[in-house]
Symmetry: C3
Subunit: 159 residues, 3 copies
């Protein structure tokens, strides 16, 4: 029984770049050791699977939130030392020199390696977005029950 | 053995509204599938089970912290886009139009459905608060050992 | 099988003092009940196992990040109510009066009690730091695969 692979669920609530990179790294490491991986993007984390230029079609308030919240799969702010983008730029330059892949690249790779990518249905509705506003790697739109079911016998890491 | 329900422990450290709502949603989804649920409120998360108007009776420093930290079960700030309350107001309006319940409502429901609600004893003491300052849904005041015991065979999600 | 101790993995991404204290408390409580404990420090969390005065030897950008990011094992900022250090000072004074140990003290104790302390290899390299810049409690420098292996059959708590 010890040998049965334990699923790893990554619950991505934050849109911060640090946490996005941590989620991607854990997903890749878990797939490399044969564990089932389930990535769930919710609240600000939904930005991480949003296409660039996605536009809210909700009421005015949803569009206001969508405007504030305009990061996307290819761009995320740092949770610390944002410094009007300077901190993120420095970290990004350093990471790419060291050959660390971006979040978008890691997400694509994790998905190719079999990680399941889910977007939170409630967040999507609140933001006035639809499946078409999300990147191709998203396998499904679902709620908390799907996340809990996927985690049976494994671990949940919130990021 | 697969059928034995795995407990879900929600370790709520942050007082941010996003994380409060996520905790409440996970608690409800887990109870709906028959899993034991244990909610542990600590650090700024303790605000989420504090009564409106609770007053610190600790030393001056504790009262200073309590003043800074004056959110309560019925009011939480957003971790992002607080905008002097505007972001939270917009999200709250949107959520209520969509029929998404508030944190206080979800906590009450989760508790009615059998979720166990615990407040961190150390935080309570540091803030100069007592059991009487907490909402009725709090079942007990306890420490980290109780949290770990409740998590046996299940998952812990920190929020 | 119920009696086999479940490992507890603490994934410390944030350098905030609240989360550092929560990680230390959980580590101590888990060791007290005989559970294997694995502390993994990454991203801003790496600060928590950095020596005071550690200096980046990386390129200019790494040194810029290291300068911004100059907290260390003996000093951490609060995630909320930092108030130019005032919030942290008040909390620290209160905690020491109540006999709550500092993070550095708790880390030393947890390590003495058998908790395994790991620093993230990728973060170390990005910051231009080496093993010599870390406190004595660090047992190894490793990556995400080591964290996942340590978590088998147990829980992961991200902080």
């Amino acid at each position: 029984m010890e040998a049965r692979p334990e699923p790893l669920v990554l619950l991505v609530l934050s849109g911060d770049r640090e946490k996005a990179l941590a989620a991607a790294n854990l997903a890749l490491a878990a797939r490399a050791s044969g564990r089932p991986v389930f990535l769930f993007f919710t609240f600000w984390g939904l930005n991480l699977v949003k296409r660039k230029g996605a536009r809210s079609r909700g009421p005015l308030l949803a569009r206001l939130l969508a405007f504030l919240n305009r990061d996307h799969a290819g761009r995320q702010r740092l949770g610390r030392f944002h410094l009007a983008g300077l901190g993120g730029w420095a970290l990004g330059r350093l990471a790419s020199r060291k050959g660390v892949p971006s979040f978008a690249e890691s997400l694509r790779l994790a998905h190719d390696l079999g990680a399941r990518v889910t977007a939170c249905s409630t967040t999507l509705e609140l933001m006035g977005l639809t499946r078409e506003d999300l990147v191709a790697e998203v396998d499904e739109v679902a709620g908390a029950a799907a996340l809990l079911e996927a985690a049976r016998g494994g671990q949940i890491v919130s990021l």
